[in-house]
Structures are given as structure tokens and as C-alpha cells.
């Protein structure tokens, strides 16, 4: 397991609730969604800023 994997799997525990959370990752598919949405946002805003779009 690489250092990066170790880091993403590292667990933080919150007392006294007993809740634990992994540092975790952003999955690749979700990163693609973020990128696609940002591209769409820029395109739509420019094209539809006025009703001439």
C-alpha cells in the first residue's frame, strides 16, 4: 500500500460520539463529473447571458 493509500484510508475518531471517518478520496468518476459541470457552467453562462443565446 502506498503512502497515498495509507493517507486516504487513515481513520479519524470523534469522541464521545464514537463516529469514525476515513480521510477518503474523491473517486475518478466524480472528478470527471466536477470537470464536466464546470465546463458546462462556463459555456452556458457565456451563451445564455442575454436572451440572444
Amino acid at each position: 500500500m502506498s503512502d497515498k493509500d495509507h493517507h486516504s484510508e487513515s481513520i479519524t475518531r470523534y469522541e464521545p460520539s464514537g463516529i469514525e471517518e476515513k480521510h477518503g478520496i474523491i473517486p475518478m468518476w466524480l472528478a470527471v463529473v466536477y470537470a464536466a459541470m464546470f465546463v458546462w457552467m462556463v459555456w452556458y453562462t457565456i451563451v445564455f447571458w442575454t436572451d440572444k443565446g
Binding site: 460520539s17 459541470m37 453562462t45
Partner: protein, 484 residues
């Protein structure tokens, strides 16, 4: 998961682990009072909704008494679900979640009792006032001044309690639930004042409509959403008995919501006299909400992966999972609904009503219900009164609500298509009658489920089988019930 980890999450019967780490952080009786009041409002407000829906099928049903007319009862239903059922439950859960995550008792703990009475008496006076016709005229901000003032005081008190408790915490890190809940209270203390003290008395005309768009979406996006997510994020790892999937994703989800939601307000006023660029910003922000929603969904289901066996016997887990599914569907519907082509099709139809039910009830009321199922047996120190009643609550809610949401969505698209094809408006309404009957039946089904479920919680408090408490356990020791 190891036995030690299981114990950390309250799994099995190794509950003394809690006793060793928990001081007297919260007031059990106070929270149970909130749960009981929340349960009452969660039966009351949807029942009013079912009555209102019957008026679509039989227009003169209860129409001869002024305070039972559609215009009087509809605000009672909306305000009842938002501020009565959902908010009362969330406030009660706040008194549990915040101290448990901060490691210190709530700041000014006695305020919780004052707030309980101010809040619930305020709600009673508010609903009576609405039924009598005293209405500020701002949708979802309809309480008259004599109710708005005490409610605003309560919201400010809650914001102070939450923020100061977080400031005084002994736990070094701030869990994502605290980000959501503290923000929800701060935003709402400001937004409620805006909607009740500024909007009704200033800004006439189209500006008022634009600002009302902001207000009503802040109620949904800056109160219901963050408060509901705060609750769900707290009970998710506990119900799944697994660590939260990703701290990183919880950061992205929170900040994306905080950044994009404030701009969505105008998306119900597409094709209105409000400037085109303002509408475009609202559309873009609405679509960009796909980012926090899908992020939350990945985090939720990622947490459950590998822990589905815990789903079997945990009603909080069942409600969280189904709520997450409705969250995905409802928010995707809401984002795409903002697009101009979709708005043209769905505006003035029940598609919008389907969307609001999917998000407010299907997601956030259901997540608050999950919290109530987790907290009530533990605080009452009793086993759930009846597993069968809980099953009926869950399945009647899922069946009734799925039919209602699907029915309203389909109905809205059909009516929109008819109107676009040039069908007369009245004819389109007549064609909707079968769908309204299905909606009423589905709503009544959900109501029956709610009555059974919240009766079950009440009976749990009163007559559930007592769970033994180890000697020397602190006042707020939490046992581990069998079915929750």
C-alpha cells in the same frame, strides 16, 4: 470490522464503552420531549396535506367552513411540515448531536427547555392564526408577526447555543455534521428575519418576487438541506456501523452547497420580467448543485458498501438509505427543472409539487425520522416497542411516497405537454383528476405509516422492554437496542 471497532460504533452489547467516554453531555428528557413533539407535528402536518389534496378531487370538501378552505389549510400544511415536523425533530436532535460531537454540554442548557415551549406554543398559535386567515402573504414565510418574533428569538438562541458550544468543544476536529448544523442555524436566523420582517413590508412588485425566490430557496437550501444533512451525516456511520467513506467528499459537498445554493432563487421565475442574466445565473447554480448532491450520495453509499448486513435490523439505516435515493432523484429533478426547456414544460404543473415533496419529505423528513429511530430507544433505554409497527411505518412510507412522487412527476409532464400542445387549461385540469385521486390515496397511505411509526416510538418510551443499565453508568449512558 474488528470487535473493537464494532464496540466503538455501539455495535453488539459492549455498551459500557460509551459509559467510559461519556459524561453528562445532554438532557435525555428534553430530547425525548422534542422527539414526541416532532412526532406529533409529523403526523399533524401531512394529515393536513392529505385533507388539502382531497379538495382537488372534491372541490367543496370541507369548503363551507372558512378556516378549512384550501387557502387557509395549505399554508398550515407547508409551514407545518417545514417548521412543525422537520424543524422540531431537528432541534431536538441538535441537542443530542452537538454536545456528542463537541464533548461538552450545550451552552446554556436550560435554554433548551425555554426554546421547547416558545417554539411549540409559537407553532400552535401560528397554525391557528393561519387557519383564521392571518397570513403575511410570503410563501413558506406565512406566520404573522406575533408568531414570527418569538420564532426569530428561538432561532437566534439556537444559533448562539450551537456556535458557542462548538467554540467550547474539547474535540479538536469539527465533524461535518457540525459544519452543516452551525451554518443552518446562522443562515436561518438571518433568512427568517429577511422573510418575515423585511419582505412583507418592502420591495413591491417584481423585486419582491425575486427576493421571495431567494427567501423560499434559502428555507429549503440553507435550512432544511444543511440541517437535514447534519442529521444524516451524524447517524449514517452509526447506523451503518462503518467509518464515513470520505472526509474529503464531505468538504466538497459542504462548500459546493454553500457556494452554489444562494444563487438558485430566481429559477422559479424563468421567462419573467426579472433580468435574463439573473435567470441564467439561477439556472447555472441549480445545475451545479449536481456536484454537492452526487458528492453526498457517493459518500453515503460508499459508507454502506461492505456493511449492508447492518441494514437488515436497523431502521435508522433503512430510512437513511431510502432518503438518500429520494435525495438523488429529487435534486436531479430540481436541477434539470431549472433549465429553460424543462421549465417551459413543467411550470404551473404538479411536477413542481412532486419535486418539493421528493426533497422536503422524501429526503429530509425521512432522514429526521432516521434520527428519531436511532435516538428514541437509546434515550428511553427501552427496546423498540414493535418491530412490526416499524416495518409497517417504513414500507407504507416507501410505497405511499414513491407512488405520490411518481404520480405527481408524471402528471406534471403530461399536463405540461397538453398545455404546450394548446389544450385548454381547464381541460388539462379535468384530465388530471385520476392522478389527484392517486396522490390522495398515496398521501393517506403515508399518513397511516406515520401514525403507526410515531405511535411505535411513543409506546417505546412508555412501554418498551427496559434495557438493563450497568451500575455506575452516567446519567446519559446510551444502551444498544436490538432493532435500531
Amino acid at each position: 470490522m474488528s470487535t473493537a471497532a464494532n464496540t466503538m460504533f455501539g455495535g453488539g452489547r459492549a455498551a459500557p464503552a460509551f459509559a467510559a467516554t461519556t459524561g453528562e453531555l445532554f438532557d435525555r428528557e428534553l430530547i425525548l420531549k422534542y422527539m414526541a413533539a416532532g412526532a406529533f407535528w409529523l403526523v399533524f402536518a401531512p394529515t393536513i396535506g392529505a385533507i388539502v389534496s382531497i379538495k382537488f378531487n372534491y372541490y367543496d370538501f370541507l369548503g363551507h367552513v372558512s378556516w378549512l378552505t384550501w387557502g387557509r389549510l395549505r399554508p398550515v400544511h407547508v409551514m407545518g411540515v417545514v417548521f412543525g415536523g422537520f424543524s422540531t425533530a431537528v432541534i431536538g436532535l441538535t441537542y443530542f448531536i452537538v454536545p456528542r460531537l463537541c464533548g461538552v454540554p450545550m451552552y446554556k442548557p436550560r435554554w433548551g427547555h425555554h426554546i421547547f415551549w416558545m417554539w411549540n406554543i409559537g407553532l400552535v398559535v401560528g397554525f391557528v392564526s393561519l387557519a383564521l386567515g392571518y397570513n403575511s402573504g410570503i410563501e413558506a414565510g406565512e406566520f404573522p408577526l406575533w408568531v414570527s418574533i418569538p420564532v426569530e428569538i428561538v432561532l437566534c438562541m439556537l444559533a448562539i447555543q450551537v456556535v458557542v458550544t462548538i467554540k467550547q468543544r474539547t474535540e479538536p476536529r469539527i465533524y461535518v455534521s457540525l459544519w452543516y448544523m452551525s451554518s443552518a442555524y446562522i443562515w436561518t436566523a438571518m433568512n427568517y428575519a429577511f422573510g418575515h420582517f423585511i419582505l412583507p413590508f418592502s420591495m413591491p412588485g417584481v423585486n419582491n418576487a425575486a427576493m421571495h425566490g431567494l427567501y423560499i430557496h434559502y428555507v429549503v437550501g440553507l435550512w432544511i438541506t444543511p440541517a437535514g444533512l447534519g442529521v444524516a451525516y451524524y447517524f449514517l456511520p452509526l447506523a451503518a456501523k462503518r467509518p464515513l467513506y470520505s472526509h474529503k467528499l464531505s468538504l466538497v459537498g459542504f462548500w459546493a452547497l454553500a457556494f452554489f445554493y444562494p444563487f438558485v432563487g430566481t429559477h422559479h421565475y424563468i421567462y419573467s420580467p426579472i433580468p435574463y442574466w439573473t435567470q441564467t445565473i439561477a439556472i447555472v447554480a441549480s445545475m451545479m448543485l449536481i456536484i454537492p448532491v452526487w458528492t453526498v450520495i457517493q459518500n453515503f453509499y460508499g459508507t454502506f458498501v461492505g456493511g449492508w448486513k447492518n441494514f437488515q435490523d436497523s431502521y435508522p439505516a433503512k430510512f437513511i438509505v431510502i432518503g438518500a435515493l429520494y435525495y438523488l432523484l429529487g435534486c436531479f429533478q430540481g436541477s434539470t427543472e431549472a433549465l429553460r426547456e424543462m421549465q417551459r414544460l413543467t411550470h404551473f404543473t404538479d411536477f413542481v409539487i412532486g419535486h418539493s415533496h421528493l426533497t422536503v419529505f422524501g429526503t429530509f423528513v425521512i432522514w429526521a425520522t432516521a434520527g428519531m429511530y436511532w435516538v428514541t430507544p437509546r434515550l428511553a433505554r427501552r427496546e423498540l416497542y414493535s418491530k412490526n409497527l416499524a416495518q409497517w411505518h417504513y414500507w407504507l412510507t416507501v410505497a405511499g411516497f414513491s407512488v405520490m412522487a411518481g404520480d405527481l412527476t408524471l402528471q406534471g409532464m403530461l399536463q405540461g405537454t397538453m398545455l404546450q400542445a394548446g389544450t385548454d387549461f381547464v381541460e388539462s385540469m379535468v384530465a388530471m383528476k385520476p392522478y389527484w385521486i392517486i396522490r390522495s390515496l398515496a398521501g393517506i397511505t403515508m399518513d397511516i405509516g406515520a401514525v403507526l411509526g410515531f405511535w411505535n416510538l411513543y409506546m417505546t418510551i412508555q412501554h418498551g422492554k427496559a434495557i438493563p443499565v450497568p451500575s455506575g453508568a452516567p446519567a446519559d449512558y446510551l444502551p444498544e437496542p436490538k432493532w435500531s
